[in-house]
Symmetry: C2
Subunit: 205 residues, 2 copies
């Protein structure tokens, strides 16, 4: 479909490079922006420009930040000896939302995935090992996806960190809270049986 | 969910104002942009900035254009006496794609919809009436959605244009090409029966 404007064509091409947005959706977004008026477009353009200029990665945990050290790493009230290892910033946000973890994070920037050409060298793993040794970390919690890539990455981290004598833990696996038992998949069910816990433990605190 | 960066927060808010994009999708898009690097972000920002600065509406047909008169209106080879009335630019693109219409367009910029507060005065209807009178238009084809709003708009246009003695036509309604009869809705089916055409007419040319 030939567009009647070179500027529109360019905006559509750029928008269509976003994940999950095809050319038709991109056109719909661009026409919506035009309908909203110039101010709206300039605000969006400026916000994205600003995103490129302002954001950086925290030099300690590799999470996203506006400052060289992110607000979580800079927060002295958090447990400095417990590190939670996650794939990316979204996982930090999801965990922070629960307020269940009060330590600090280490963002890997991906998972080991030979299929996608992601090896350990592409992730912030060396820096994690350095941090654990240098900061006297006592516990590293692997909070990775329960996928092949997540499991592979956890096992690789285990082999790198185990010699340091640090306590290595992993997120509990089992039935998601609020789900009907009958809809849980076979592997989740069998793991929930194998790793069953005393009932009393679940009604305390 | 509190984001770790004010620049990210702003980009997410702006992206979430696009149609069909919620806050979670907006965050995914913003993090994707960050992962793609600064160049990618600046390109997108610049393309949207450019969209605001460069595009305008054609002074004749109100379609989108980089120039005061769009390429369709400026094309002397097109039939200047037939006007196709459409809701917005996407309809122009869809029709142009078929190459079935060789006249010119008039983009209303919406449809009459009291529910959405859209009255005739919000659309380029007065200008359409002026054009039909001033340019000696012989046919106006209503190519509007087959919805209540589309039908209301067509009827309003009919009452405004009919006194000018111009030939008013409407897109054929019936079975979509390539669809199984059994899946057509009742109203489409009954209209297709009522407005049945001689078979020979469909096998010519």
């Amino acid at each position: 479909m030939e567009l009647p404007s070179a500027a529109l064509e360019r905006a559509v091409s750029e928008l269509a490079r976003l994940p999950g947005i095809g050319r038709r959706s991109a056109l719909r977004l661009a026409l919506h922006l035009i309908q909203q008026g110039d101010d709206r477009m300039l605000q969006l353009a400026d916000a994205i420009h600003n995103l490129a200029e302002q954001t950086t990665l925290c030099s300690q945990c590799h999470s996203l930040s506006d400052t060289p050290i992110c607000s979580i790493c800079a927060d002295g009230r958090r447990d400095a000896l417990t590190l939670c290892v996650v794939e990316d910033v979204r996982d930090v946000l999801a965990l922070e939302n629960t307020q269940a973890f009060r330590g600090r994070y280490h963002v890997l920037g991906g998972l080991i995935s030979p299929m996608d050409g992601m090896g350990p060298g592409d992730l912030s793993i060396d820096h994690l090992v350095e941090r654990v040794a240098a900061e006297g970390i006592t516990e590293v919690l692997f909070a990775l996806s329960t996928t092949m890539e997540g499991d592979t990455t956890a096992f690789y981290l285990y082999r790198r960190l185990q010699p340091l004598g640090v306590n290595l833990t992993v997120m509990a696996r089992g039935l998601p809270v609020g789900d009907a038992l009958e809809y849980a998949d076979e592997r989740t069910l069998s793991r929930a049986v194998e790793q069953r816990v005393p009932y009393e433990q679940t009604i305390k605190g």
